[in-house]
Subunit: 388 residues, 2 copies
């Protein structure tokens, strides 16, 4: 394929003001000849959204929080950009005919509905919102199959696995690497006293607050295990989490002959984002290259499930299936918010999630409505375990 004559891909960036969204726009900025922005959506950060809209001149911008609508509308009044507000508008815009790829980069459960709508409209999904797969992987997979839509992972771990796949050869198992987060070597006692400020400092990756806390508690890795199950059609025993503090090996695939393939490099989310946008092609980049003479050593440890019980909870939810991962996610969203508001301690989070999983109504073969109900019931149960 000749880059000069390739038609530009039209992108919708859902969550454009977040960590993934802004890095996606960095990718687009570096390859204007390959991509056009059709739509940008954000939750609350209206000022940044305005700047992005002026720079990228999309067809449409949407602010989920309607309180910011007026400000957005006025700021873009002199541009030929359509302005909308509210989450319904997001679910509608993704269906627009010119869009080729929808980057689902919102945080949490809210990514689910627009992703479903985008799949139904036949859009290629670049999936950064792992909660979508955690909550509703069964439905997402069925829809992707029905509408013949590729779901391309953006998470660095899943992108690494995806980059290592071979058409002819099934996966024997995958190794999802985990940095272990800032508290890798903390004792349970130390973990109980962890502050929000400590938890928000991740050693290797620069991410949003929710993902950073999930990363410190290893719930993020638990979600990734479930996401991997659905993305690559794996059983629980085919997914092994490997603590690899240097975050150089982004994940690995073992094939049935015993060969292992890994994707590695400096931690930089722009690479998996770009790969999802250009797959199967890779575009030239000026990203810094890994210098192996500066890599002191690469190490691996088994994760400690006593200190990081979220990982066990995630495996349990995955093995039970049905609505259990949805409950896991809902309870986690509640406890992370409570932790960020200094309402509960760090080790209280897995405790509340575990209790919620025991109490919530369990449904096998859930419909979309079941997920909605489970999500709201589970949040209520989780909240009931929090201090007032």
């Amino acid at each position: 394929m000749n880059a000069q004559t390739t038609e530009k891909k039209q992108l919708a960036i859902l969550g454009s003001t977040g960590s993934i969204g802004t890095q996606a726009l960095d990718v687009v900025r570096a390859h204007r000849d390959r991509f056009d922005i059709y739509a940008l959506t954000a939750n609350n950060q209206v000022d940044l959204l305005i700047r992005q809209a002026i720079e990228f001149q999309p067809d449409s911008v949407i602010i989920a929080n309607k309180q910011h609508y007026q400000k957005l509308k006025e700021a873009l009044a002199s541009y030929p950009i359509k302005v909308y507000a509210g989450s319904d508008a997001i679910s509608q815009i993704v269906q627009s005919e010119p869009i080729d790829i929808v980057l689902a980069a919102m945080v949490g459960y809210h990514g689910l509905r627009p992703t479903i709508q985008a799949i139904k409209a036949g859009k290629t999904i670049a999936l950064a919102n792992k909660e979508t797969m955690v909550v509703a992987g069964e439905i997402i997979n069925a829809l992707a199959m029905q509408y013949r839509v590729p779901i391309l992972p953006v998470d660095s771990e899943h992108s690494a696995v995806f980059q290592c796949l071979e058409i002819h050869n099934p996966i024997e198992k995958i190794f999802l690497t985990a940095s272990g987060g800032p508290f890798r070597q903390f004792s349970v006692e130390q973990l109980e006293r962890v502050t929000k400020e400590q938890a928000l400092k991740h050693p290797n990756w620069n991410m949003g607050a929710k993902v950073t806390i999930d990363s410190a508690s290893m719930m993020n890795k638990g979600f990734e295990v479930i996401e991997a199950k659905w993305l690559f059609n794996l059983k629980a025993e085919q997914v092994e989490v490997l603590v690899h503090p240097q975050s150089i090996i982004h994940s690995m695939v073992q094939f049935r002959d015993g060969a292992i393939k890994a994707q590695l490099g400096l931690p930089d989310m722009k690479l998996p984002i770009q790969y999802a946008f250009t797959y199967p092609e890779r575009l030239e980049t000026t990203f810094p290259r890994l210098d192996f003479s500066k890599v002191a050593s690469l190490t691996f440890e088994k994760p400690d499930l006593t200190r990081f019980p979220n990982l066990s909870l995630a495996y349990r939810a995955m093995e039970q299936g049905g609505t259990m991962p949805c409950t896991l996610n809902a309870a986690n969203e509640v406890v992370v918010e409570a932790f960020l508001q200094d309402k509960i301690g760090f080790m209280k989070m897995p405790e509340v999630i575990g209790k919620t999983m025991e109490k919530a109504t369990f449904r096998l073969n859930p419909t979309y409505e079941d997920y909605v109900e489970t999500d709201s019931e589970s949040r209520e149960i989780a909240r009931s375990f929090l201090p007032n």
Copy 2:
């Protein structure tokens, strides 16, 4: 593809009694439903060749050293196996119509002629004899192109690179990993006193004597650099040697977006041998799997060209091209033999090779005849630098 209905591949194993050859037969033994042995050839080890012939019942066996012909003939008299002797017979047998794949696993320059004949007969080449590419990569590549013959690497490093390739994406660079051999941390003074017995003990790989010495002197890695150039169409600056003492990462490919892919696992030559036989498919194996909890750490160093001048000599030969790599190889075969006969010390080897490269007649765009002439002239020159 269904294994039950797949036609068996007919193999010719050149060098069946060597390290690669015997491991190739292990692979065949584990997958009798997939492979038949059409021909086995050996240089001198007639007893082992007889046992292999009786076990695998090939159409033909050939012993290169004619002194052993009578013994071989008599031992197999009661079997329907054709028996030949001499190197001409090897170059003829590879052209037999039923053969699908020729495994070129002889040691040294002698691998060249039968490999050329096999290519001209349209056989897929599983290439373990790296000297073939070192000496005559230019001709081998041209022939492979002309006869539309795939050349599948069997060296663990080149197989690793091959396993990481992507159809859509050019290679930016490759990292050929090197264990560093048994003398990785020796000083020049220590290296000068190295004995044959020390050099024959490789820390990670179990190989034949010639390859083990080449490995200790890093000439093996130099050859692999040149082999990689021809196999993957690379420039000198696209091939970086990385000392990686644990031999877990077998080699890596960096693409133009900066992503690096590696193939890793326990050091076991059966895996790359089998992969060459079954490519693009991977067969299930019972090879032990890598247990990352037992991998203490993976480390990387730049090679030391002062202590291991062979690597510089190889890069220089590659950059000069023409007959220079052929001279490099010829001189190396002479000095390794002399070292194994206790005629010269370890550090004398690179010295003689360097002097031979300065003195040998240099030809650009060589023909096969030029290689034959260069090889014999270079051996003579190298011998002139040896003590009587």
